[in-house]
Symmetry: C2
Subunit: 204 residues, 2 copies
DNA sequence: GCCTTCAGTGAACGATATTCATTATTGCAG
DNA sequence: CTGCAATAATGAATATCGTTCACTGAAGGC
């Protein structure tokens, strides 16, 4: 019984999400008003609330769409089943470049969604867990294969990688630029081998 | 020519900051209204704006005060000039426990201040740089002393430590609890020696 | 051709950050 | 002790913005 075609509804929804993405990326969540977004999408204020429960829900939709795109790439990389170090390097590169290419959206994610009290259980949280599980499986396999110390805590490694990438991309986003490949290699080397120099020489 | 004593002005300011800290910690930046804060501090709405330029400025004051307290601790630890690994462990422990003890304020910092476009140059940013420089000097000294590989990038290490601690404390804050000492030790071990298991099987 | 059903509208509402004209208080001069 | 600037303090008014809702009109089944 839809009075308009499902296609038209989808188009309406898409145009609202597109307008919201631009507005949020440019002005931030607070800075972009629902009225601005509605005008940019060519609809009335009220219609936004027929498609989305709240302004926040609209933000979630924007970020979910973005996250899903990135996640598909990461899952493709993991599915290649390349050697452990190569896979980890590729994941870090892709993660870093996603953050750098869409710094505005990542800023929104960090500032507005991850810190929200209702983050757990949200669709963005679910996507985050999918990424988490890619990393977790990779590391567990490397432990089983003997490439990684058995006494490592997988959750710790995951938090270190996530936190590092996020922080690196963050300080790069509002500062000087950053060479993705070189930074990814440095980070990989640090995570794999640590700060301490190889035991070939002196050291108590 | 102050009409009231400087002491009274300071008290007024303090009571507003105290009320703001409670309100922000409990309800978040958005959730706490200036009217609520003013009432809790026993002053009128308007007076808040004689002491602070805006609600955001008030948030900055709250976080600056918190940050300064923590920073003093960290500088004390660094000033002890203990061996590299001990100092790094102590810094990580203190950093982690600060995040855990005041998760609400740290959440505010991440969500509301660090992502603000005017973060660079703010008083909180200056405090952050002080912490940064503690870590930077420590690592540079360790490189000079031979405890750390010379080819390491100090900025990378800094971002890894900051990002890891932040992410660890964050996922601990809205999940199960976390043993500060044990987590700090694990993180230290990972940063020092990496994921790859030692070639000869011995452990420091 | 009428009637039901919703998509769509935009004015109205409530909340709230910020301002400002007004009032109260303070320290000091005479 | 008293009156007088100077200014601390007030809180009603303003502007903005998210959200709601009573209403409009077009599409399609009968």
């Amino acid at each position: 019984m839809p009075v308009i075609s499902p296609q038209r509804m989808q188009d309406r929804r898409d145009s609202i999400v597109d307008a919201a993405r631009s507005a949020f990326a440019q002005s931030g969540f607070q800075g972009a008003s629902v009225a601005d977004i509605a005008r940019a999408a060519g609809v009335s204020d009220g219609l936004v609330y027929r498609y989305f429960a709240s302004k926040r829900d609209l933000l979630n939709a924007v970020l979910t769409e973005f996250y899903e795109r990135t996640m598909a790439d990461l899952e493709t990389i993991a599915a290649l089943e390349a050697p452990f170090e190569d896979t980890l390097r590729a994941l870090i590169r892709r993660h870093l470049s996603a953050f750098l290419a869409d710094a505005d959206l990542c800023r929104l994610f960090i500032a507005e969604v991850r810190t929200a009290t209702d983050y757990r259980g949200s669709s963005v949280h679910t996507l985050n867990r999918r990424y988490t599980s890619i990393l977790t499986r990779l590391i567990q396999a490397a432990v089983a294969g003997g490439q990684v110390r058995a006494d490592i805590e997988v959750r710790l490694v995951r938090d270190v990688i996530f936190g590092s990438v996020e922080h690196l991309a963050w300080s790069a986003a509002n500062g000087r630029s950053l060479d993705v490949d070189r930074t990814a290699d440095s980070l990989l080397s640090l995570i794999l081998h640590g700060l301490v120099r190889p035991a070939t020489g002196d050291r108590p």
